[in-house]
C-alpha cells in the first residue's frame, strides 16, 4: 500500500487577465518521483509556488510532511561557507549566538548523507555553478522534508554532476521520499520518473505511469499538436567562406555563406568563452578574406558579426525598456518602420512595439534579442544557447528562423547544449572538449553517440 504524501485537488489560480491554473489535480506518493512537464507558461511554476505558499488559490491541498523546494535560481549567499548556507534560516544557536560546532557537524552530516565530497568550510562563491546547485539541494534536504520539489535542477549541471544528482534522488526515493521533478529535458524525466504529469495551458492533460508512455506521446501532449517536422532543414548549398578565426583561444574554424555550423560540447567546454572572445577581444579574424581587427564589441558589429548572447535577461535585454528600444540597441539608426517589420517577421507577440520587454514571455523575449542582431545586418551570426528556457512552440519558430537565414545566405554559428538541436539544424558540427576541438562532423556522419564521445573526451 502506498502512502500519499501530497494531494492537490481542483486547484485553480487566476491572475489578472489569465487563468494560470484551471482545475488541476496532482498527487505524490512516498517512494516516488513524479515528473511535471509542460511548455513554459503551462502553469508548472504557478503550481509549485502555490505549494510553496507564495500564492493563494482555489481548491484543496493536503500535505503529509514538510515541503522543500529547490528553485531554479540559486538562493545561496556566495560569501558564506557551505555549512552556513545549508543552515541559513535555521542556525543552531544559544540566545542568538551561533553554535558553530553544531552548525558544521550538521552540514557534514547532510553532505555525507548525499555522498558529496565537499568541505563544509569552503566559501560557496568559489565553487563551480554545478556544485553550488548541489549545495542548494543539500540545503533543501537538510530540512528533513519528505517532499522535495526540484525545478529544472540540471539546467546548469554538467553531465557528471547530473549523474551525482540522479544517484542522490534515487537513494532518497528508496528511503521513502516523494520527489516532484520539473524538467525540460525529457530524457532525464524518462530515466527518473515513476509517473509523468503533463500540463498544458494551465490544465493537467494527463497523469500516467512512465511505462505506459513514450517520448513522442509526451511531446505531442505538451505541444498539443503533432511534431513530425520539428527541425526544418531546407536543402542548402554552402558557398564561399565568409568567416575565418585562426587560433582564437587555440581554436581555428571557418564558416561559409548559407551554412549552419554547430558547436557542441559539455557545459564548461569553452564554447561560450570562444564565441565571446571572438566578439569582444578578436584575434586573427577575417571576414570575406579580409583580416579585421576587433578590440571591442563595436568593432565586431562594424565588421558584420552579430552575437545572440546566452542568458537573455543578463546579457541580451534591457528588461524594463520597450521592444523598440531593445531591437534598435545595436543598430540605433534603424527607422521605426524597419523595426516594426522585423517584429512582424519574427512574429514577436506583443500589443505594440512600445511594450516593455520584461512583460513578454521568454520565447518572445528571445525573438527580440534575435531581432536586435538581425537589424545590424550581420554577415555572420553567432547564436549562444538561443532556445534555453523557452517553450517548444517558440523553439520551433527560432529553428525556422535559423533555417531561413541560412537559406538566405547568412553564415550561422550555433552554440547549444541540446544535442538534438545541434544535430537537427547544423550542416557541419565542431565538438569542443576542454577548450580544444576534438571532433568535426558533417550532417551525414553526425550521430548523437559520436558527438557525445568527442564531447566527453572518449573519442577513439
Amino acid at each position: 500500500m502506498t502512502t500519499r504524501l501530497l494531494e492537490m485537488r481542483n486547484i485553480s489560480k487566476r491572475f489578472p487577465g489569465v487563468l494560470a491554473l484551471d482545475d488541476v489535480s496532482f498527487d505524490l506518493n512516498a517512494s516516488e518521483i513524479h515528473a511535471l512537464v509542460g511548455e513554459n507558461g503551462a502553469g508548472k511554476s504557478t503550481l509549485i509556488n502555490i505549494l510553496g505558499g507564495v500564492y493563494d488559490y482555489d481548491g484543496s491541498i493536503v500535505v503529509a510532511n514538510d515541503v522543500a523546494i529547490v528553485h531554479q535560481e540559486l538562493s545561496l549567499i556566495p560569501e558564506f561557507s557551505i555549512a552556513e548556507n545549508i543552515a541559513l534560516g535555521r542556525e543552531p544557536h544559544r540566545h542568538g549566538v551561533i553554535d558553530w560546532d553544531a552548525l558544521y557537524a550538521r552540514a557534514r552530516r547532510v553532505l555525507d548523507q548525499l555522498q558529496l565530497k565537499l568541505d563544509p568550510h569552503t566559501i560557496t562563491g568559489t565553487l563551480g555553478i554545478g556544485q553550488q546547485h548541489l549545495v542548494e539541494i543539500a540545503k533543501a534536504l537538510s530540512h528533513d522534508a519528505r517532499i522535495l520539489v526540484l525545478d529544472e535542477p540540471t539546467a546548469a549541471l554538467t553531465d557528471n554532476e547530473a549523474e551525482v544528482l540522479f544517484a542522490i534522488l534515487e537513494r532518497l526515493r528508496e528511503r521513502g521520499a516523494g520527489i516532484i521533478y520539473i524538467s525540460h529535458k525529457l530524457g532525464e524525466v524518462f530515466r527518473l520518473a515513476d509517473r509523468i504529469t503533463v500540463l498544458r495551458d494551465g490544465r493537467a492533460v494527463s497523469t500516467d505511469a512512465k511505462s505506459s508512455l513514450d517520448l513522442t506521446t509526451v511531446i505531442a501532449r505538451m505541444v498539443g499538436r503533432d511534431v513530425t517536422q520539428f527541425f526544418p532543414t531546407s536543402a542548402r548549398e554552402p558557398r564561399d567562406v565568409v568567416f575565418e578565426a585562426r587560433n582564437v583561444r587555440g581554436v581555428s574554424f571557418t564558416v561559409r555563406r548559407g551554412e549552419v555550423l554547430g558547436i557542441a560540447g559539455l557545459v564548461g567546454a569553452g564554447r561560450s568563452e570562444l564565441v565571446t572572445a571572438i566578439f569582444c577581444e578578436g584575434g586573427e579574424i577575417s571576414i570575406n578574406g579580409e583580416p579585421v581587427t576587433i578590440k571591442h564589441p563595436w568593432d565586431a558589429i562594424a565588421a558584420g558579426i552579430g552575437f545572440v548572447t546566452e542568458d537573455r535577461k543578463r546579457y541580451g535585454l534591457l528588461l524594463d525598456q520597450t521592444v523598440l528600444m531593445n531591437e534598435t540597441l545595436a543598430a540605433p539608426k534603424t527607422d521605426l518602420a524597419t523595426a516594426e517589420r522585423s517584429m512582424r517577421e519574427l512574429r514577436i507577440k506583443a500589443q505594440s512595439i512600445d511594450d516593455i520587454v520584461g512583460t513578454l514571455s521568454g520565447g518572445n523575449q528571445q525573438k527580440v534579442v534575435l531581432a536586435k542582431w538581425l537589424l545590424t545586418h550581420p554577415k555572420v551570426l553567432f547564436l549562444d544557447e538561443p532556445t534555453r528556457g523557452i517553450d517548444i512552440g517558440a523553439k520551433q519558430e527560432i529553428y525556422q528562423q535559423i533555417d531561413r537565414l541560412a537559406s538566405d545566405g547568412m553564415a550561422i554559428v550555433l552554440v547549444s547544449s541540446e544535442l538534438p538541436e545541434i544535430l537537427g539544424l547544423s550542416d557541419r558540427i565542431l565538438v569542443l572538449h576542454k577548450g580544444r576541438i576534438t571532433g568535426e562532423f558533417d550532417r551525414q556522419s553526425a550521430t548523437a553517440e559520436a558527438v557525445m564521445a568527442c564531447a566527453t573526451g572518449h573519442a577513439a
Binding site: H71, E73, L74, S75, L76, I77, P78, E79, F80, E84, L88, G89, R90, E91, H93, G96, V97, I98, W100, T276
Partner: protein, 343 residues
C-alpha cells in the same frame, strides 16, 4: 579577501613611514596618541556604518546626527551626567529607528531617507541651540574625549587582552596590543576614547561574525531573495541595523563633544563621508554582503593617519580634501581591478 587585507595594512605602513620620514615625529608616542584619539569618532561611526552597508543600505545622516545628539547631550548636562549621556544615545537610537522604519517598511531608498535625515537633524540642532555653541561643563563628559588611563590600569587591560589573544592563537595581534599599550604608557597612558572604540569594535565584531542577527545582515545584503526564501525577516533586520547605527552615532557624538569641549551646531559636518570612506577602504562592498569590523577600523586609521600627517606637514585644507578624495577613489579602484569577478 586575504590579499586585499594585506594590501591595506601595507598601505598603512607605507603612509606611516612616509610621514615619519617627512616630519620626524609622526611615530612618536605623543603623536600616535593624538592619532588614535582622532580616529575614535570616525572609528565608532565606521563600525556602525558597516552594519547598514553590509545589508546593502547607506546612511548619509550620521554627521548631522552627531551634531544633534552631541548638542542635546550638552544641553541636558543640567540633569546630570547619566541623563546627558543617555540622551545622546537615545536620540541617536530613535533617529536611526525612524530612518530604518522608513527604509524597511515604507520602502523608501536609504539614500533618500538619510539624505532627508542629513538636512532634518542639522535643522533640528540649529533650531534647538539657536545657532549657539554650548560648552561642556561636566568634567567626566570632557574627560571622555581626552582622559588617559593610569599606566597601571593600561597594563591590566593589556594583560587581559594579550591573554585572550594568545588563547585564540592571534600572536601578531597580541604583540601589537602589547606594543600599543607600552607606547601609550610612555606618553602618560592609554586614551579613554580608545578604550571606548575597542569595546565597541569587539562587540560589533562578535555581533557580525557570531550571532544570527549579524550573519543575516550579510545574507540580506548579499542576496535579498535568498534571504527572504530562507525565512529571514529582512525588514526587521534592516530596521535594527539602522537603530544600532543611530545608538553608535550617539556614542561617537559624546566622544566628539567631549574631545572638542563644546557642542557647536555644525559639529560632525561631513563625518558620514569619513565613515563611509573608512568602510570602503577597509574592504566593505557597497553592494552589500562583504566587509568586516577590523577592515572598517583599518580604513578609519588610514583616514586619520592622512589627516594627522598632513596637518603635521601643514598641508593646506584645500589640498587635504583633494588628497583624501583621490585616496578613497584609488583604494576602491585597486580593489575593483583586483577583484574582476566577471570575465
Amino acid at each position: 579577501m586575504k590579499l586585499r587585507a594585506y594590501t591595506m595594512v601595507i598601505a598603512l605602513v607605507v603612509i606611516w613611514i612616509y610621514f615619519q620620514i617627512r616630519t620626524g615625529l609622526f611615530l612618536y608616542p605623543v603623536n600616535l596618541a593624538n592619532l588614535f584619539k582622532q580616529m575614535c569618532v570616525t572609528g565608532v561611526l565606521a563600525v556602525g556604518m558597516l552594519l547598514v552597508i553590509v545589508a546593502r543600505q547607506i546612511d548619509l545622516s550620521v554627521g548631522s546626527l552627531v551634531g544633534l545628539a552631541g548638542g542635546i547631550a550638552a544641553m541636558s548636562q543640567g540633569w546630570g551626567l547619566g541623563a546627558s549621556f543617555l540622551s545622546a544615545i537615545v536620540v541617536g537610537l530613535i533617529a536611526g529607528a525612524v530612518q530604518g522604519t522608513l527604509v524597511a517598511y515604507a520602502e523608501i531608498p536609504s539614500f533618500i531617507v538619510t539624505l532627508g535625515g542629513l538636512l532634518t537633524w542639522r535643522g533640528m540642532i540649529l533650531y534647538l541651540t539657536k545657532g549657539e555653541t554650548i560648552p561642556v561643563r561636566l568634567p567626566v563628559f570632557r574627560s571622555l574625549g581626552i582622559a588617559l588611563l593610569t599606566p597601571v590600569s593600561g597594563i591590566v587591560i593589556a594583560a587581559i587582552a594579550i591573554g585572550f589573544l594568545l588563547w585564540r592563537r592571534r600572536f601578531i595581534a597580541a604583540i601589537l596590543a602589547g606594543v600599543f599599550v607600552a607606547m601609550m604608557n610612555a606618553q602618560g597612558g592609554v586614551p579613554l576614547p580608545v578604550i571606548v572604540l575597542v569595546a565597541v569594535a569587539i562587540a560589533a565584531h562578535f555581533l557580525t561574525q557570531h550571532t544570527i542577527f549579524g550573519r543575516y545582515l550579510y545574507a540580506i545584503g548579499s542576496n535579498p531573495d535568498a534571504a527572504r526564501l530562507s525565512g529571514i525577516n529582512s525588514r526587521r533586520h534592516i530596521l535594527i541595523a539602522f537603530a544600532l547605527l543611530g545608538a553608535l552615532v550617539g556614542v561617537a557624538a559624546l566622544l566628539h563633544t567631549g574631545r572638542v569641549g563644546s557642542a557647536s551646531p555644525d559639529a560632525g559636518t561631513l563625518m558620514e563621508l569619513d565613515a563611509i570612506a573608512a568602510c570602503v577602504i577597509g574592504g566593505t562592498s557597497l553592494m552589500g554582503g562583504r566587509g568586516k569590523v577590523a577592515g572598517a577600523l583599518l580604513g578609519a586609521m588610514i583616514m586619520a593617519s592622512l589627516d594627522n600627517g598632513m596637518s603635521l606637514l601643514s598641508v593646506e585644507n584645500a589640498t587635504q580634501y583633494v588628497i583624501k578624495g583621490i585616496v578613497l577613489v584609488a583604494a576602491v579602484g585597486f580593489d575593483m581591478a583586483g577583484r574582476k569577478r566577471f570575465q
